[in-house]
């Protein structure tokens, strides 16, 4: 007499398990199968192609009613199980009581419906089964239908691409900073977003859903930023929830999923479970490969053979036509990584290594070698011997890169930007151009985007033999071979608006840059796209992130702004009060005509700023690569030699310029007469008042180097001085390398060019001033007032936790 086996759930996991069982021991059990869906078993992971119209339902059926009946399975499709009675060893369904000797739970999972108002409106659906697909296709049938997908993970994006292919207007709302953040790093996420956007899909990252609205039917999704996204259908693809209700009610040990051991046994020895409803060693699985492994193990357990489930390495491929994407393993920032980017072709590959073994892999745009890499990962092969060419994949193994270049035909193109082929470069070399600069000058190869620089050098090396020494990279840091000037140019010409985009488009060699390139890129984005780019605080040096100057002992200095070096008794009292209240150990009068409070504790900063704000003072930006001070003398107000109102002009300049970010710090001074008490002739911009007007000079220095300013122009009115100064600073902001002071920048570009742009061409000057003003509409504000707000306290200034009071155990 065969034992009675009851299975709850007729999905992929139980289907595969039955196949395994029938292979091993076809007649061991008398089987009854319950399935909530009124149909047999189909390949659930192929629902996306069905939705896209690439496949039909019939094509994805794996086990139909005939298959089950041919194997003697008693099918109870469309009949939901309501209860498991462990004592009586039976289950209860609409059709009554069914007894079991062994029970298998394979209830799978349901879409996680994010807990917001309106998530139960008609038209809000998950993406788990054929009914969901049918509902989506019905919505897609309407003319000009709009779909909003909540969740930019694997499932959400497959739904988005499919509905887009069905002609719907699709918006993807994703909570995290980039798409598929569990499988992809930000660079690959960026490429994917770009691809989807090029198909007309709108992608919004960092999107916090506030509510879903509609009267009888869903109408729109509202985000926290108050934006509304109209929708005829809303697809919830924000994750899955293991279907554990039956297990919990039966008293089985359940965490996120029904807990099983290595043999797929639950806490009741007669009940087994597999698939997306289970939790094994703290992990819940949502991909098919581990489910199939579970099926094999469970089948063996059922016939009394020992078997153990071992979590497999799981790889991910997105099933969207035309998108090649592969991800596996730990692709986090391991100690070592090899990154390959081809911006032209939109290719990104990243291998992470640990102890000369591949532990993770992300590929975008070219996944041809994914299995070759994946095999090496699974077998933990030592790759130290092939490391040099590893990233180029299986085809490149055993080939010396130099030999590969030598073998290239003369007609093959080396520089895509300028259309220069190898033969042209070789004849230039033979004609005497024996270094990179000479080849650039003669052929223009590598003179534009610079991506082919390495190739050009290899052509040099293979042509010249031992005579050629590869020069050290001129890149701004180890992450790139590009110079600051190249980077700025590429950001501008290719409209690159985020740091991950910049790193991808310019072929960065690391995944998220370093402390040298990130602040530079952040500045370039701010300068180029003031209205669109959101300042990245994590790419800021500590002083600019905390709006105070860090000192050697980790305390900070606080310096309020004193416009034009003027102050009042009230301001001085407030400064003195703050110094007392926060136990400031040192008060210092600076060379920039203000007062520095030194030795302030980090946690006191916001309260101290609030006190200074209350007395009418704002940040002096003494910590920034930005406008610092405008030093003045007292001019015609008091001085018997003064020729103009130098103090008033200084204050006007400071009120226009303050808050602006620049490549390096910027200091100004206005002196009321040629005696120059404000020492204007060693500043970045110096103004000297004379009887006939003003002399504006620029590019001075009084730091590591001492340089007198050079004349920019004479001006007749205050307004002219202001326009010249603003235009000069904006030109500096737009074209200087990060961390070049104006004197260094002017030495590079030449004062004649600066005068041409700022003085001679009045239209150009006006345009510079206009662009500066656009930027200042965002940045002319007091960061202290903002960061002293109460909401900043818990998320920035307070400690994350205080364990000093915690008891020892």
């Amino acid at each position: 007499m065969a034992q009675k086996l009851v299975i709850i759930g007729a999905g992929m996991a139980s289907g595969r398990m039955l196949e395994e069982l029938f292979k091993l021991a076809p007649d061991t059990y008398d089987i009854t199968l319950f399935g909530a869906e009124p149909r047999g078993n189909y390949n659930r992971i192929m629902l996306s192609p069905v939705l896209a119209g690439d496949k039909t339902y019939d094509e994805i059926i794996t086990h139909d009613a005939d298959w089950y009946s041919a194997h003697g399975v008693n099918c109870r499709f469309g009949e939901a199980v309501v209860k498991i009675d462990r004592k009586a060893k039976c289950i209860i369904s609409a059709g009554g009581v069914t007894e079991y000797d062994k029970l298998v739970i394979a209830t799978g999972s349901a879409s996680f419906m994010i807990p917001v108002e309106g998530n139960d409106l008609p038209g809000v659906i998950g993406f788990r089964d054929l009914d969901d697909v049918t509902a989506m296709l019905a919505a897609a049938g309407k003319p000009a239908g709009k779909a909003v997908i909540i969740g930019g993970g694997l499932l959400g994006l497959e739904a988005a691409a499919a509905l887009n292919a069905q002609g719907m207007k699709v918006t993807v709302l994703h909570l995290m900073g980039h798409l598929m953040e569990r499988q992809l790093d930000s660079a690959a996420g960026y490429l994917l977003q770009k691809e989807l956007e090029s198909r007309g899909i709108r992608v919004i990252c960092n999107a916090h859903t506030n509510a879903i609205v509609g009267t009888n039917q869903v109408e729109a999704v509202l985000l926290e930023d108050q934006s509304a996204h109209p929708a005829d259908v809303v697809v919830m693809a924000a994750g899955i929830r293991p279907e554990t209700r039956l297990g919990i009610e039966a008293g089985l040990h359940t965490e996120r999923g029904i807990v099983v051991d290595d043999a797929m046994q639950t806490s009741d020895p007669d009940i087994l479970a597999l698939g997306e409803c289970v939790e094994h060693k703290d992990t819940v699985y949502g991909l098919v490969a581990p489910l199939y492994d579970m099926a094999k193990v469970l089948a063996r357990t059922l016939i009394g053979e020992a078997a153990a489930f071992k979590a497999p390495e799981v790889s991910t491929k997105l099933k969207v036509t035309g998108v090649d994407l592969f991800s596996v393993g730990d692709f986090g920032d391991e100690h070592e990584e090899i990154v390959f980017r081809d911006p032209g072709l939109g290719i990104y590959k990243r291998i992470t290594l640990n102890n000369d073994r591949i532990v993770g892999l992300v590929m975008y745009g070219d996944t041809n070698d994914s299995n070759w890499f994946f095999d090496k990962l699974k077998s933990a092969e030592d790759i130290s011997d092939i490391r040099g060419a590893l990233i180029y994949g299986s085809a490149a193994q055993g080939i010396d890169p130099l030999a590969a270049v030598a073998a290239m035909p003369d007609a093959s193109e080396i520089c895509g930007c300028n259309g220069v082929c190898k033969g042209t470069i070789v004849s230039a070399i033979n004609g005497g151009a024996t270094d990179l600069a000479a080849i650039k000058a003669v052929t223009k190869a590598s003179a534009s985007c610079g991506n082919c620089t390495g190739l050009v050098e290899q052509v040099l090396a293979s042509t010249l033999g031992d005579d050629f020494v590869v020069p050290a990279a001129a890149g701004i840091c180890g992450c790139t071979d590009l110079t600051h000037e190249d980077i700025r140019q590429i950001i501008k010409s290719r409209s690159i608006k985020t740091i991950p985009a910049a790193m991808q488009e310019m072929g960065w060699k690391t995944s998220c840059g370093c402390h040298v390139c990130r602040p530079a890129l952040n500045y370039y984005m701010i300068a180029e796209w003031p209205l669109e780019y959101a300042d990245d605080l994590q790419s800021r040096f500590v002083n600019e992130r905390n709006h105070a100057n860090i000192q050697k002992d980790g305390t900070y200095s606080v310096m309020p702004r004193m416009w034009g070096g003027m102050t009042t008794p009230d301001e001085l009292r407030a400064i003195a009060d703050a110094a007392d209240k926060y136990n400031v150990p040192a008060v210092h009068v600076t060379g920039g005509q203000r007062i520095d409070l030194l030795g302030v504790q980090r946690e006191d900063l916001p309260a101290m700023w609030a006190d200074l704000n209350a007395a009418g003072m704002v940040s002096g930006h003494a910590y920034s690569k930005g406008l610092r001070t405008v030093k003045t003398c007292v001019g015609t107000d008091f001085c018997r030699f003064g020729t103009q109102d130098s103090t008033g002009l200084g204050i006007k300049l400071e009120k226009i310029l303050w808050g602006s970010w620049t490549p390096h710090k910027v200091k100004l001074a206005v002196s009321g007469c040629p005696r120059n008490c404000a020492e204007a002739t060693c500043k970045d911009v110096g103004v000297i008042c004379v009887d006939s007007g003003y002399e504006v000079s620029v590019a001075g220095a009084a730091g590591m180097e001492l340089k007198q300013t050079v004349a920019l122009a004479k001006a007749a009115t205050e307004q002219e001085v202001i326009d010249l100064t603003v235009a000069f600073i904006q030109l500096y902001r737009e074209s200087a390398a990060y961390l070049d002071r104006p004197y260094k920048w002017v030495a590079k570009v030449g004062i004649d060019w600066v005068i041409e742009q700022v003085v001679d061409d009045s239209e150009h000057r006006a345009a510079l001033c206009e662009r500066f003003e656009i930027s200042q509409s965002v940045y002319r504000k007091d960061p202290w007032a903002e960061q002293a707000k109460p909401e900043y306290q818990p998320r920035k200034w307070a400690a994350l936790a205080d364990l000093t009071l915690e008891a020892a155990q």
Partner: protein, 115 residues
Amino acid sequence: MSNLMSNWIDIAALDDIPPRGARVVKTRLGCVAIFRTIEDQVFAIDDACPHKKGPLSEGIVHGRAVTCPLHNWVIDLETGEAQGADKGRVNTYEIRVENGRILLDGARLLARSVA
């Protein structure tokens, strides 16, 4: 996996730390800096650079490393070792993320302080 001696303390939500950022936890042994990488991995190390005690929690986080804000030493978050030519090491502490919460192993931090 936790060993017998560990004492996991729920200190905060993962989202309380910005990606590529850090926050500190006060302990009787001084501040411990909790880092979150761009890949949402977390690391806990002493908040004092082996060079001149700079607050590492204020450094720029890149990959699995942080650059000290005082003199640009680069510290590996996983091992606590100074990178490149610099020599030195900071203490590291066991830490993990579970269901969006950061758990710090307080065994060493609390036990040593009363020893």
